[in-house]
C-alpha cells in the first residue's frame, strides 16, 4: 500500500496551514519520537444515527427556563414533574432534568462518572445569529443534512474535503507509540465509518459479537483444511488488474490476519458478570468490554471503538419512540460503565456520544426535523463528572440562538469536544489541531470535562 510521508499527511488532512504556522516544530515533537505509552486508555464512541433530539434528553428544570422549553415544544414537551433531576456541581441545585427513561445516566451523573456537554455542534468559527444570516462567518456546508452533518461530526472537516476522521488521525499520530499492538487502534463494531478512516492506519471492522472466523480453515499442519486456508490466502494475495478486485482482496487478507488472533483472545476472556441490555447497542458494548478485558493479551495500549445504534430520526411518533431510544442509550452506557468497574479499568475508559445533529424545537405535528446543535454525553472514571460543560441556551423560538424553527446555533464546537477527548487520550497539545483542524478558531482548547 502506498505510504504517505508526513508532508502528504498534513496536506491531505487539511492541516497544512496550521503546521506551517508553527515553524521549527520537529517531527519527533509532534509524533512522540517513537516513544511508547506506559498505560492503557480507550475511547468508546457511541453514535446515535438519525439525529438525537437531545433537547428532550437534557431539559431545563428551573421554572422560567422550563416554561420557555414547554412553550416551544408544545405537544412534544416532557412534563416537568417527570424529569429526573440532576444538580450540576457548578450550581449545586437541581437546575436540569434528564429524560425520564435515563435513570442509568442520572446515576452515573450523581456519582461523578458522567457529564454532559451542552449545545455543541459543528462550527468552523464562533458564530452568532447575526453572523449566520449576513454570512460574515464561514459555515459548515450543507447544514441540516444527515450524511453531511455525520461527516462534519466525525471528520471535523470544516468546509474542506476530508477523507479522514478524527479517530483515524489520532491513530495515525500515535502509530509509532503502539507498534506492538496485535490489533488496530481503531476497531468498529458497526461497519465502515469516516470517523476511523485514516491515511496510514486501517480500522478493523468486526461484527457486533466480535470477529468471525473462516469456516473450513485449520492451522494443523498436514490437514487438508490447513491447505485450504493457505490456498485461499494465496488467491487473495495474488496480483489483480482492477482496483475493485484489489480492494476486495485486501479486505479478505486483513480479515484472515486478524480474525484468529482476536477471536482466540476473546475466547479466553474472563467472564464479565455485569448484565448488558439485550439490544443492538448492549451487544456491541458487551463485546467492547470483552475486548478491553483481553487488552494485555493483545498488547493494546490505545484503542478507539466505534459502536452505534439507529432510529433517532424522529420525524414521526417521537413521543412514542423516544423513551425506548434514550432509555436504550442510558441502559447500555450504564451497563458498560459498570463492566469497566468490574474489570477495574473504569479510569482508563471514556465513553462519549455523537449524533448527526440536534432537532428542531418546533414540531411537525408528531415529530421533529433536522437541526444543528445538541447535547452529548461523556461517561467514565476519568470524566470530571456530575457537571455540565458549555452554555445551555434559552429554548425559545426566535431566541438569540435560533436560526429558524428552533434550530440552535452551537455555542461550543465539535472540534473543542473532540480535542478535549484527544488530549486525554494522549495526543500532545501541539497535535490537537491535526485532530481538530478548526480548534485554533476557538479560545478554549480544553472544555475541562476530562481529568487531566
Amino acid at each position: 500500500m502506498k505510504t504517505l510521508n508526513r508532508r502528504d499527511f498534513l496536506r491531505t488532512s487539511g492541516a497544512a496551514a496550521l503546521f506551517a504556522a508553527t515553524p521549527g516544530l520537529a517531527y519527533s515533537q509532534v509524533v512522540g519520537g517513537g516513544g511508547s505509552f506506559t498505560d492503557y486508555r480507550a475511547l468508546v464512541c457511541v453514535f446515535m444515527f438519525g439525529g438525537n433530539d437531545s433537547y428532550n434528553m437534557l431539559i431545563p428544570n428551573t421554572n422560567a427556563e422550563y416554561a420557555a422549553y414547554a412553550a416551544s415544544r408544545q405537544n412534544l414537551a416532557l412534563l416537568q414533574s417527570d424529569l429526573l433531576p440532576i444538580s450540576p456541581a457548578s450550581t449545586g441545585t437541581p437546575d436540569f432534568g434528564l429524560h425520564p427513561a435515563m435513570g442509568g445516566i442520572q446515576g452515573l451523573f450523581q456519582d461523578g462518572n458522567a457529564a454532559l456537554v451542552t449545545n455543541v455542534g459543528p462550527l468552523i468559527e464562533p458564530t452568532t445569529k447575526a453572523q449566520y444570516f449576513d454570512r460574515s462567518v464561514t459555515l459548515p456546508p450543507q447544514l441540516f443534512s444527515h450524511n453531511d452533518q455525520q461527516d462534519q461530526w466525525t471528520s471535523l472537516r470544516g468546509n474542506v474535503q476530508s477523507k479522514t476522521g478524527w479517530a483515524g488521525r489520532m491513530a495515525d499520530l500515535i502509530r509509532d507509540g503502539v507498534a506492538g499492538q496485535q490489533m488496530a487502534t481503531n476497531a468498529s463494531l458497526f461497519g465502515s465509518n469516516l470517523f476511523q478512516s485514516a491515511d496510514e492506519t486501517v480500522a478493523y471492522v468486526m461484527g457486533p459479537n466480535g470477529p468471525v472466523q473462516y469456516q473450513g480453515f485449520s492451522t494443523t499442519p498436514g490437514d487438508i483444511l490447513n491447505e485450504q486456508r493457505l490456498a485461499f490466502g494465496r488467491v487473495v494475495a495474488a496480483q489483480y488488474d482492477t482496483i475493485y478486485e484489489r480492494g476486495y482482496a485486501e479486505v479478505q487478507r486483513r480479515a484472515i490476519d486478524a480474525a484468529d488472533t482476536v477471536s482466540m483472545a476473546i475466547a479466553n476472556a474472563p467472564t464479565i458478570n455485569t448484565v448488558f441490555p439485550q439490544s443492538q447497542l448492549g451487544t456491541q458494548l458487551q463485546t467492547v468490554a470483552r475486548l478491553i478485558a483481553v487488552r494485555d493479551e493483545l498488547q493494546m495500549q490505545r484503542q478507539i471503538f466505534f459502536v452505534a445504534t439507529g432510529g433517532f430520526d424522529s420525524h414521526d411518533d417521537q413521543n412514542q419512540n423516544q423513551p425506548g431510544l434514550l432509555g436504550g442509550i442510558s441502559d447500555a452506557i450504564a451497563a458498560f460503565h459498570a463492566a469497566t468497574e468490574e474489570l477495574q479499568i473504569a479510569n482508563s475508559v471514556t465513553t462519549f456520544t455523537q449524533s448527526d445533529f440536534g432537532r428542531t424545537l418546533t414540531s411537525n405535528g408528531d415529530g421533529t426535523d433536522h437541526a444543528w446543535a445538541g447535547n452529548q454525553l461523556v461517561a467514565g472514571g476519568a470524566v470530571n463528572g456530575g457537571d455540565l460543560y458549555g452554555s445551555y441556551p434559552l429554548l425559545e423560538i426566535g431566541g438569540p440562538e435560533d436560526v429558524g424553527g428552533g434550530r440552535m446555533i452551537p455555542s461550543t464546537s465539535a472540534d473543542q469536544y473532540a480535542a478535549t477527548l484527544a488530549k486525554w487520550f494522549g495526543i500532545p497539545d501541539v497535535d490537537l489541531d491535526i485532530v481538530a483542524p478548526n480548534l485554533g478558531n476557538f479560545a478554549q482548547r480544553d472544555l475541562g470535562f476530562m481529568i487531566a
Binding site: M1, L143, V202, V205, V212, T242, Y244, Y248, L361, N364
Partner: protein, 547 residues
C-alpha cells in the same frame, strides 16, 4: 498510481476541474459506413448479462450471442413486469403482518432468478437502491406496501422519470418511510410546521443532489471555486408545505387510524383541509401561487424538480454506478445525461432510453479494460448469479432468505436507511481513495461481512447442495450434478465451473490453487470436488468483480 482513462469523474469533481469530456468522439462530419460488427464472444455476453440481469448464465449468453445486445435489450423492454403483490395477496392471512416480509423476500428471489423480464427486474433493483424504502423500520408492519412499491418500480423502470417520481411520492410505502403520510399544514399556535423529511430526501437522494452539476456530472463551481448548493432551507420548507394533506386511501381520520389492507397498495389520497394553501418557494426562483389545490401544488413542484438541469447527470451517475461502473468518465455521464434530457424524439426523462444508453455505451464494454472500469458486485448479486447458474431451489419451492442483510449486509428492500446499503461516494483507504476514485459496494465488504459472505458460500457449496439428504424444506440448495459427473477430470471440472460463473475466463492463480486442492481430494469424492471448485470461485476477487 491508477492509470486513468482521462480525467476521472470523481477526480475532476474533487480537483474542481470542469469536465472537459475527453474521449467523446463527437466530431462533425458524416461517419464512414460501419464495418460489420465482430461476433459477440461468450465472455462479452457474460459481461453484458452481469450488468443487465441478476447474473449471467450460459443459456442466456447464447441468446445474446445470437441476437446481439441491442436486440436483447429491445426484447427485454417489451416484457411485462413479474410482480410481487399478486403472489402476496394469494397467501392465507398471516398471524401477524410482519411475517409476510418472508414471503415478500421469497417472491423477490423468484422474480429475480427466474422472471423472464431480467432487465426490468435488475433496473427495478437499481432504482430501489436510489429511491430507497426499507422493511427495516416504519414499514415492518406493511409488507404489502413494500411489495407494491417494488412492483411500481418494475413497472416504471423503462417509463418516464416524471411519472416515476410522482408514483414514488404518492406511494404509501414512501409516505410512511419518509413521513409525508399524515404531513399537515402549519399550526403556528402550537409551533407546528410541515415535516421536511420527504422534501429534503427527494431532492438530495432521488433527483438533483446537494450541489449544481455540469451536464457531465462534474460539480459546477462559482467564481470562488466553490460548489453551488442546489437548494437552501427556505426551499426545503417550500416543498415541505407542498407535501401536506396526503394520507392513506380510505383512512377514517387524517394520518392515522385503522385502514384497510388495500390502502397499502393504492396511492395516498388528498385531504384538502390539511393542505397548506400559501405560496411556496421552489427551485430556481419558482414560486407556487397561493390558493392552489394539493394536486396542483404537487404537479407544480414535481415539474419544478423534473426540469432542474441536475436531474439528467444525477440520474445518469446513479444508474451507471448501479449497472456498469463505479467511476464513469465525464464523457460517459454526459452521453447518458443527454439522452435523459432528450431521447431523440424530444422527450425528457425517458428511462428506457437512458438504460439502453448506459448498457450500450462503449465505456460499458471497453475493448481494453482499464483498472478502474467495472465495479464490485453487490453480495446479493453474487448470490443470485450463483443461484441462477446452479438452478438453486428448495423442496418447498420457496426462497425465504429473509436474513441475508444480517448474513452479509444486504437483502431485498432491507436497507438500514434511506441512504442505501452503501454510499455512492464511498472510497476505501488506500489506492482508491488516494486516487480520488470510489467503490461504493466496498462499503459493505468489511472484514466482518466479507468473512460472513465467504462462510455462507462455504455452507452453500458443501452443505446446501442437491446431494444433501437432510435438508429442511425451505433450505435453498444448488445442483452440481454435471460437475460431479465431470469430477474425475480436474481440468474439465474447473473449466465447467469457470464456464458457468466466470464466462470461461479464470485467472492462472485461481486455476492453479483449485487444481492443487482437487488433487488432494479423492477422485471418487465427486461432490466434495464439485463443492470445492464452486466455493473457491464464488469467494474469489475475480468473481466479486463485475467487468
Amino acid at each position: 498510481m491508477i492509470a486513468n482513462r482521462t480525467v476521472s469523474l470523481l477526480a475532476s469533481l474533487l480537483l474542481g476541474v470542469a469536465g472537459c469530456g475527453g474521449g467523446g468522439g463527437d466530431s462533425p462530419g458524416p461517419p464512414p459506413p460501419p464495418p460489420p460488427p465482430p461476433p459477440v464472444t461468450k465472455a462479452e455476453a457474460f459481461q453484458f448479462l452481469n450488468q443487465a440481469s441478476f447474473g449471467a448464465t450460459e443459456s442466456e449468453a447464447l441468446e445474446v450471442i445470437a441476437i446481439r445486445q441491442e436486440s436483447w435489450i429491445d426484447d427485454q423492454m417489451m416484457k411485462p413486469a413479474s410482480l410481487q403483490l399478486p403472489h402476496m395477496l394469494s397467501l392465507p392471512p398471516p398471524q401477524f403482518m410482519g411475517q409476510l416480509h418472508t414471503d415478500r423476500v421469497d417472491i423477490w428471489f423468484r422474480n429475480a432468478l427466474w422472471g423472464d423480464d431480467q432487465l426490468r427486474q435488475r433496473v427495478a433493483f437499481a432504482l430501489s437502491e436510489i429511491m430507497v424504502v426499507s422493511q427495516l423500520g416504519a414499514l415492518q408492519g406493511r409488507p404489502f406496501a413494500v411489495a407494491d412499491y417494488y412492483d411500481m418500480l418494475a413497472e416504471n423502470a423503462f417509463g418516464n422519470y416524471r411519472d416515476l417520481i410522482e408514483k414514488v411520492t404518492l406511494h404509501p410505502a414512501m409516505g410512511v418511510y419518509l413521513s409525508m403520510l399524515g404531513n399537515e399544514k402549519p399550526n403556528p399556535a402550537l409551533n407546528i410546521r410541515p415535516d421536511e423529511n420527504y422534501a429534503r430526501e427527494l431532492m438530495q437522494l432521488f433527483s438533483i443532489g446537494l450541489v449544481q452539476l455540469n451536464i457531465d456530472g462534474t460539480v459546477a463551481l462559482d467564481g470562488n471555486n466553490q460548489p453551488i448548493p442546489t437548494y437552501d432551507q427556505e426551499i426545503i420548507e417550500g416543498f415541505a408545505h407542498v407535501f401536506t394533506g396526503w394520507t392513506w386511501r380510505g383512512s377514517p381520520s387524517f394520518g392515522s387510524g385503522r385502514v384497510p389492507v388495500s390502502s397499502q397498495y393504492f396511492p395516498m389520497e388528498h385531504w384538502p383541509d390539511f393542505h397548506d394553501t400559501g405560496e411556496k418557494m421552489l427551485l430556481n426562483g419558482t414560486v407556487l401561487p397561493p390558493g392552489q389545490t394539493g394536486e396542483q401544488d404537487l404537479a407544480g413542484a414535481l415539474d419544478n424538480i423534473f426540469n432542474h438541469a441536475n436531474v439528467g447527470p444525477f440520474v445518469a451517475i446513479r444508474l451507471i454506478q448501479r449497472l456498469t461502473t463505479s467511476n464513469p468518465s465525464p464523457g460517459y455521464v454526459r452521453r447518458v445525461a443527454e439522452v435523459f434530457n432528450n431521447n431523440g424524439a424530444g422527450v425528457r426523462g425517458d428511462l428506457g432510453a437512458v438504460v439502453k444508453a448506459i448498457l450500450l455505451d462503449p465505456e460499458a464494454s471497453p475493448s481494453m479494460a482499464m483498472e478502474i472500469d467495472g465495479k464490485l458486485k453487490e453480495p446479493l448479486l453474487r448470490l443470485t448469479q450463483l443461484f441462477k447458474a446452479y438452478n438453486a431451489s428448495s423442496t418447498s419451492g420457496r426462497y425465504p432468505l429473509v436474513g441475508s442483510y444480517i448474513l452479509f449486509g444486504q437483502g431485498p428492500l432491507q436497507s438500514p436507511s434511506v441512504f442505501n446499503f452503501f454510499s455512492p461516494f464511498f472510497a476505501p483507504p488506500g489506492e482508491i481513495r488516494n486516487s480520488n476514485l470510489v467503490a461504493p459496494e466496498l462499503e459493505i465488504a468489511t472484514e466482518y461481512l466479507s468473512t460472513q459472505y465467504t462462510n455462507y458460500m462455504f455452507f452453500q457449496a458443501f452443505g446446501l447442495n442437491h446431494t444433501n439428504e437432510n435438508l429442511d424444506e425451505d433450505d435453498i440448495f444448488i445442483n452440481f450434478q454435471e460437475e460431479m459427473d465431470a469430477a474425475a477430470d480436474i481440468n474439465a471440472l474447473i473449466n465447467m465451473v469457470a464456464g458457468k460463473l466466470l464466462g470461461g475466463e479464470i485467472s492462472d492463480t485461481l486455476r492453479t490453487e483449485i487444481a492443487g486442492m482437487l488433487e488432494r481430494i479423492p477422485e471418487t469424492d465427486t461432490a466434495i470436488r464439485a463443492a470445492e471448485v464452486i466455493y473457491f470461485v464464488t469467494t474469489s476477487p475475480e468473481y466479486a468483480y463485475q467487468r
